[in-house]
């Protein structure tokens, strides 16, 4: 990559990107903690997550302030402009990812990890896929990698499918004559599943932001949604 004649400009852009990367690291961590708070029924961990989310919100504002400063004072164009716009979009997505982790932690008190094992197993599978995609996405942002970004986009359908399976099982478990507490626990599991599904979507957004930053293109190809489109069809439409 070429260097700007004004070296402080390079530093400002690198600093902005660095801040996005470290925000990404915090988001990975907050999700690990949020799921752990549920699986270990740890109130303490859940509180820690809610606190960490506030910190992530503040970092979003810091990134916006820095990006606005760059836009106002440096008038970036071409790849510089895309980098700054991408950083802002990254910050927005990461902030929302943090919100969802917080939503999961808020459910911790209502979920007993020793009950509904079959649902929890599905949730953990969604979590593994979503977290691994998020980690790859942050890496692909740190050192831009279009191939990884495309793979992440393509894999989101798998997470959507797991969500649909979870939904089906939870609905089946919600018997009309269940005690209310039982139903609340199941609803909470469903909320967690929904947050994990959104986590996959936002990770896909990150992949698309990377593609935009590197190429200027806004990926338009409709993402294949698991469940709505059969697996066979979805594989065909990818070709």
């Amino acid at each position: 990559m070429s260097e700007h004649i004004v070296s402080s400009y390079d530093e400002e852009i690198k600093e902005l990107q660095g801040q996005v990367v470290s925000m990404g690291g915090l988001v990975e961590k907050i999700w690990i903690d949020a799921i752990e708070s549920v699986t270990t029924a740890s109130d303490e961990m859940a509180l820690k997550v809610i606190d960490a989310d506030k910190h992530i919100d503040n970092i979003e504002l810091e990134i916006y302030t820095k990006a606005m400063r760059l836009l106002a004072l440096r008038s970036p164009v071409a790849s510089d402009l895309r980098t700054v716009v991408a950083a802002m979009r990254m910050a927005t997505n990461l902030e929302r990812l943090g919100d969802h982790a917080k939503n999961v932690a808020r459910r911790e008190k209502l979920i007993n990890p020793d009950e509904h094992k079959e649902v929890i197993i599905l949730l953990l599978r969604m979590y593994e896929m979503s977290l691994s995609a998020l980690q790859q996405a942050i890496d692909a942002y740190r050192s831009p990698n279009l191939e990884t970004a495309e793979t992440i986009r393509a894999n989101d359908a798998g997470i959507d499918e797991l969500f649909n399976s979870t939904l089906a099982i939870v609905l089946k478990l919600m018997e009309p004559n269940n005690p209310p507490l039982q139903t609340e626990a199941l609803a909470s599991l469903l909320f967690v599943a929904k947050s994990l599904e959104r986590m996959g979507d936002m990770t896909t957004n990150i992949a698309e932001i990377i593609i935009f930053q590197e190429t200027g293109a806004f990926p338009t190809e409709e993402r294949v949604r698991g469940g709505q489109v059969g697996l066979m069809e979805s594989q065909q439409s990818r070709q």
Binding site: S2, E3, H4, I5, V77, A78, S79, L81, R82
Partner: protein, 254 residues
């Protein structure tokens, strides 16, 4: 592409003595649109602009090769009169250069030498209409007989634009027309350019990329005498094709 292109430039090479200033330039300039020429100092922007109204003819040792047509007519053909060409293709320079004469005489100069007015009433009409189009009429209507050199820099530049308009050109070339102006005067001239592009084809050289971005529909990037790329301004400033363009507009060194 060729249908609405006003000016076609094909395989143009320009030399100053033995030194080559432009290399095989090909460009289509669209009618009634603003095209910006950008690029580092000495890359040949002014040289290129001067090709379009044969101002290079008057530069000692300058040789232009290739083909340039306006509305399909070869402007370098033997039977073309460069003086008439320059009435069709007007030019505004970097530093406002009004003559040390009255505001009226500055604008009336072209119509007079080209015999465009049959009488003084017509001449007055042309002058007033040109000042109007240059957005200057309100500011100078009470002092048309005062010296143009007493006006502010921005007003002087608009006098020069009025002077170019007065001979009813089809194309207006501007070589860094705002580089001596403050931001407000610059904004006025830029707004004026926007209005003029409804009726005229405008080609502007600018070292301000912000200006190119603000005023032009298309932008051409020159580098070391080569036309690197010409595309929609929005494309050039968001996703240029060529790395040299990218490096220049983002202020990078290779």
């Amino acid at each position: 592409m060729t249908i609405d292109s006003k000016i076609q430039v094909r395989n143009v090479n320009v030399y100053y003595g033995n030194a080559q200033a432009l290399y095989d330039v090909n460009l289509d300039i669209k009618s009634k649109e603003i095209t910006s020429l950008i690029g580092p100092s000495g890359c040949g922007k002014s040289t290129f602009l001067r090709c379009l109204n044969r101002m290079n003819d008057v530069i000692e040792g300058c040789r232009v090769e290739g083909n340039i047509t306006i509305d399909g007519e070869n402007i370098y053909s033997k039977d073309k009169d460069p003086v008439l060409l320059r009435a069709r293709v007007g030019m505004v320079f970097q530093k406002p250069n009004p003559f040390p004469k009255s505001i009226f005489d500055n604008v009336a100069y072209g119509p007079r030498i080209h015999g465009l007015a049959a009488n003084t009433t017509e001449l007055r009409e042309i002058v007033e209409n040109s000042l109007e189009q240059a957005g200057l009429m309100d500011e100078v209507k009470d002092r048309l007989n005062e010296s143009a050199t007493g006006l502010s820099g921005g007003q002087q530049q608009r006098i020069c634009i009025a002077r170019a308009i007065a001979v009813s050109p089809e194309v207006i070339l501007m070589d860094e027309p705002c580089s001596a102006l403050d931001p407000i005067a610059t904004a006025r001239v830029e707004e004026l350019m926007g209005n003029l592009s409804i009726n005229y084809t405008i080609v502007i050289v600018t070292h301000s990329m912000q200006q190119a971005a603000r005023v032009s529909t298309r932008t051409a990037f020159f580098h070391l005498g080569h036309l690197v790329e010409c595309d929609e301004t929005n494309k050039i400033f968001t996703t240029p094709n060529d790395k040299r363009t990218e490096d220049y507009i983002t202020g990078k060194v290779g």
